[in-house]
């Protein structure tokens, strides 16, 4: 918040007298920066002399989390950062401060700072390796220059006796951004890039530019990319970025005489200039560190498309570990978090400090910070917002592809009379209105999943998205699917998430499942992991870790995107593994034998009803493609744990699940297979699938014989069609088909229908490979004939779902081809070939 607030006032003042700022001539009138303030009262928090570790610990005892003091050694060099963490067992933690050369850093961190004040200021905003951010007392923000002389004698009493009302801090927001983080870049949605000048000093800025053109061969693509960028720039408001250079240039010249305050003015509010002027963002100067940063003027960050294509560096594409760069949500950056959120939910923690890891997270939850940032966003004048957005656009290359995709999807979803916008609106309206028409919660979620998949297809077909995807360079289909999925979650799932949960809760209340779960939880709660099936000697989460896990569960509950939820689930599981390994024999490998009991134990000590709803939500809504991977595994384990608890019979041998549970499991199993329609980035792959759907559909009209043929074919009967032949034939046939029947383009649902059907009947490659024989023996209707059938029949997914039901109920059970989502890709390839062969033979 701080930056935005400042920004507002900056805008106002620069409108009045734009000449005031550039060279820092008006420094005295500027409010103090946080750095200045910290320096002023450094004697209060950096303690040497009589102070030692024990006395500092005593002083910090009982202080709120985040309170800290720094212990200096005999030569007045910082030695130890003592931090109150508010934990149960260990209230104060020590973090050694090390000095390597001219750089201070925490022992466990690689973020270096040129002096202690900068280190403290940084860690008050971003916790990095600390358990909480440093807490800067309110008083510090009330300091004025005049009080300077009074401060020298202040001790830690001044520092630690703070007003207990953290909200006050927002009334008098601390001043302009920190000069240590010299480049502050915001995009329209608020990711803030903080770059440590020392990093640039060490590594140059080539990685930054490289990042924005991630193509593997920059030379071949940089031209169109740059052109696109230019267009984008010109379609947005003319950006005033060049003023930045005008301003920054002189500041470089006067580097040594310029105060940090003057240089740290954010770049967003500069006056007008032509948008085509290359924009150069440069690190602001720092009087305190200028000595160690000679020659940094060379490190220009060129953000203009043209310039960058000239200067495309050969350097490493991403920052190399161990040096890291922080991308920080403005919610976190702009104001130190309020007290209540010092021990924040993990989704807001700067856990990894990795690029883009945090970009989405401010969406996820209405946490204090989130509410906070929203409030200030609303307060911002449109003008400021537009400028921010223009800056964001201009440095679009700094945005992650995901973010750009999200923006574009958002934009498309808001566009009047756009196909995508209408579909999204229809979906949201329908879900908000008529969510109670389904028989069960899972049916409701299945419908939502189907809708999400269709929306994804529609989004993918938008030319603008195609253009964007092309500009992203070399991205695998898998990655792209994941990104599209996230974008869809944002535009479609976010608005209905709360409503879905309410309905889910409703269903689960009605069927009594939650009730049973809670009863069994009560019964099993006291059991040790050994009684739950675990082995002796495996570590368990202690109270503190359990607390942390609860917070993660909470943030998992708050996230709307099933993919995000699964990410958080993985973090929880990782924490559990960590606990298992502590206090156990070193080198022990813990597999599912140990993990599942442990997870079950954790689940028993959690809010089990919420967890069940979240699991339902994830299970049904997660992109089926992700079910096979790590997320899918642990989601399955969580689901299994809950099922184990719900079906627990204290007296019975735990061997068998209730028939009800068994049934439910197989239902789930079957269902998930049917959603394996996979989005594709290229149209032709989709068209290849089209004939498949018809033929198989036609075959199913003949009485669904496919399952019968599974055991009858033999290898000798298999036609040995080579891949190339298949491909060519399919192209020819496709050409014909498309001419004949354009209506297929209007009914994407049918395409998937057919493929689903195929995957279900011949869920894996082998089955599919056998199928042509049958098809060839029983020639089926031509595409034209097919067309005569009523579409309603084709479209009904209910029909689809009843097929396995019939089979399972009837005699075919033993022959039934088990649904097999995980071979879907293979099945799909086979499917297209299968269809081709059928057509060929017909």
């Amino acid at each position: 918040m701080r930056g935005l607030e400042d920004n507002k006032s900056d805008t106002a003042s620069s409108d009045r007298s734009p000449t005031e700022m550039p060279n820092g001539t008006e420094v005295a009138q500027k409010p103090l920066t946080l750095l200045d303030r910290l320096r002023l009262c450094q004697s209060a928090w950096a303690l040497g002399g009589p102070w030692d570790r024990d006395s500092i610990h005593t002083a910090l005892w009982g202080q709120q989390p985040g309170s800290f003091l720094v212990l200096l050694d005999s030569t007045s060099q910082p030695q130890l950062l003592c931090l109150s963490v508010g934990g149960n067992r260990e209230h104060v933690k020590d973090f050694p401060i090390q000095r390597s050369g001219a750089v201070f850093h925490l022992l466990e961190s690689h973020l270096g700072f040129s002096d202690l004040v900068q280190l403290v200021a940084y860690y008050s905003l971003s916790r990095d390796v600390l358990p909480v951010c440093l807490f800067i007392p309110q008083r510090v923000f009330n300091l004025t220059q005049e009080t300077d002389q009074d401060l020298s004698h202040l001790g830690p009493k001044f520092w630690l006796c703070l007003s207990s009302n953290p909200q006050q801090r927002n009334v008098t927001p601390p001043s302009t951004g920190l000069s240590m983080c010299s480049i502050q870049v915001t995009s329209a949605n608020g990711a803030l890039c903080v770059i440590n000048p020392l990093y640039l000093h060490e590594h140059g800025d080539s990685w930054l530019i490289e990042k924005r053109s991630p193509q593997s061969s920059p030379s071949s693509v940089s031209r169109p990319f740059a052109a696109r960028r230019e267009r984008r720039l010109s379609t947005t408001r003319p950006w005033k970025g060049a003023g930045l250079r005008d301003m920054r240039g002189p500041s470089l010249d006067h580097e040594s005489s310029t105060s940090p305050a003057a240089c740290s003015v954010p770049p967003r509010t500069r006056p007008n200039s032509s948008p085509s002027t290359p924009v150069v963002l440069r690190r602001a100067s720092q009087s305190s560190s200028s000595g160690s940063l000679k020659g940094r003027g060379q490190n220009r960050l060129s953000v203009d498309g043209e310039t960058s294509s000239e200067t495309t560096p050969v350097g490493s594409p991403v920052p190399q570990s161990p040096h890291r760069v922080s991308w920080i949500e403005d919610g976190i950056w702009l104001s130190p978090p309020p007290l209540t959120s010092l021990l924040q939910a993990p989704s807001h923690e700067l856990d990894s400090l990795s690029i883009s890891s945090l970009e989405e997270e401010s969406d996820s939850a209405p946490s204090p910070i989130h509410v906070h940032s929203q409030r200030f966003t609303l307060v911002l004048a449109d003008k400021v917002k537009n400028r921010l957005s223009a800056v964001g656009q201009a440095i679009g290359g700094l945005m992650s592809p995901q973010k750009r995709l999200n923006y574009k999807a958002q934009e498309l979803s808001e566009r009047k009379s756009g196909a995508f916008a209408e579909s999204v609106k229809a979906f949201v309206d329908k879900t908000l209105k008529g969510s109670s028409c389904c028989a069960s919660g899972s049916e409701l979620l299945q419908e939502v999943r189907t809708a999400l998949s269709s929306l994804r297809e529609i989004l993918l077909e938008s030319p603008e998205i195609q253009l964007l995807i092309d500009s992203l360079g070399d991205i695998s289909d898998l990655e792209l699917d994941g990104m599209l999925e996230l974008a869809i979650h944002k535009v479609a799932l976010k608005p209905v998430c709360a409503c879905l949960y309410a309905s889910l809760q409703d269903y689960r209340d009605r069927d009594g499942f939650i009730e049973r779960l809670k009863q069994n939880q009560h019964t099993m709660e006291g059991q040790k992991p050994e009684e739950l099936g675990g082995a002796m000697g495996v570590g368990l989460p202690d109270a503190m870790v359990l607390e942390k896990i609860q917070q993660r569960w909470d943030s998992m509950h708050e996230a709307y995107s099933p993919s995000k939820k699964v990410q958080i689930l993985l973090k929880v599981c990782k924490t559990i593994y960590h606990s298992m390994n502590t206090n156990s024999t070193p080198g022990a490998v813990y597999g599912a034998d140990d993990f599942l009991p442990c997870l079950t134990w954790v689940v028993l000590h959690s809010n089990i009803s919420t967890l069940q709803l979240d699991t339902d939500y994830m299970m049904e809504l997660l992109d089926p493609m992700l079910l096979q991977g790590e997320g899918g595994y642990y989601l399955t384990s969580l689901y299994g744990s809950l099922f184990h608890i719900s079906s627990f019979r204290p007296r019975l041998a735990a061997r068998q699940l209730s028939t009800e549970a068994q049934h439910s499991l197989s239902q789930w199993h079957r269902r998930r297979t049917l959603h394996c329609n996979r989005s594709r980035r290229t149209g032709n792959r989709r068209t290849i699938r089209r004939p498949a759907s018809r033929e198989v559909e036609a075959e199913s009209q003949d009485g669904a014989k496919l399952s019968d043929c599974s055991g009858e074919g033999s290898a000798a009967e298999l036609p040995s069609l080579s891949g190339e032949e298949t491909c060519e034939t399919s192209k020819e046939i496709l050409g014909l088909l498309r001419e004949e029947d354009d209506s297929w383009d209007e009914a994407p649902g049918e395409v998937r229908w057919g493929c689903d059907r195929l995957s279900e009947e011949g869920g894996d490659p082998q089955q599919s490979a056998e199928a042509p024989e049958t098809l060839r023996e029983k020639p089926t209707g031509s595409p034209k004939k097919e067309k005569e059938r009523p579409h309603s029949e084709l479209r009904s997914r209910d029909v689809l779902w009843t097929v396995p039901e019939d089979i399972s109920a009837g005699q075919l059970d033993k022959n039934k081809v088990t649904l097999d989502p995980d071979r879907w890709i293979d099945g799909e390839q086979k499917a297209s070939k299968l269809a081709t062969k059928c057509l060929y033979s017909a």
Binding site: G533, V589, Y590, G591, E630, L665, D764, Q767, L819, D820
Partner: protein, 194 residues
């Protein structure tokens, strides 16, 4: 080169060394460039087989009796299952037979089954003879190896054999035929027990 993801499910009584086998398989050629998984219950490893890359997604299951009913969730959609027993525990071999039965009844129809007699470094305490196990494996057309996760014996071989038996993506030639024969076995059995 084509990348295929192959889900492999680990079954077997608790304590027979399921996770040790995977651990050994994955860690032996530890590649820091590949993101490690968060724990040993789910691990991945990519190996080259002919002109394909096979990425094994290895799902471990809890072997305890009480969790047995959850197994279908884990083995559904598996391309292969490795059923592990302990050569020093006759009982674990009987459990293995039950797993085979269950897989036939409820598992994916074409699942490649591999039987691994683990702890073959403990030959002195052997309770299950190699011949008995081999005969059983042959009778169900399963891959059979005796392994030692501790001494890294035959670990890679299990997975190599699985790679071989996984039907090639392109339905052509002898490999498809081979796979086909294997595939037919379970369905025949099933029909007979109707």
């Amino acid at each position: 080169m084509a990348l295929r993801e192959l889900k492999v499910c680990l079954l077997g009584e608790t304590g027979v060394g399921k996770s040790s086998i995977v651990w050994r398989f994955v860690e032996d050629s530890f590649d820091p460039n590949i993101n490690p998984t968060i724990g040993a219950s789910f691990m991945t490893k990519t190996v080259q087989y002919q002109n394909e890359l096979h990425k094994f997604l290895i799902w471990d299951t809890a072997g305890q009796e009480r969790f047995r009913a959850l197994a279908p969730m884990y083995y559904r959609g598996s391309a292969a299952a490795i059923i592990v027993y302990d050569i020093t525990k006759e009982e674990s071999f009987q459990t293995l037979k039950n797993w085979v039965k269950e897989l036939r009844q409820h598992g994916p129809p074409n699942i490649v089954v591999a039987i691994a007699g683990n702890k073959c470094d403990l030959g002195d305490a052997r309770e299950v003879t190699e011949k008995d196990a081999k005969d059983f494996a042959d009778s169900i057309h399963a891959i059979f190896v005796e392994t030692s996760a501790k001494n890294a014996i035959n670990i890679n071989e299990v997975f190599r054999e699985i790679s071989q038996r996984i039907p090639v993506a392109e339905a052509s030639g002898a490999a498809a035929g081979k796979g086909f024969k294997l595939r037919r076995q379970p369905s025949d059995t099933r029909r007979s027990c109707c």
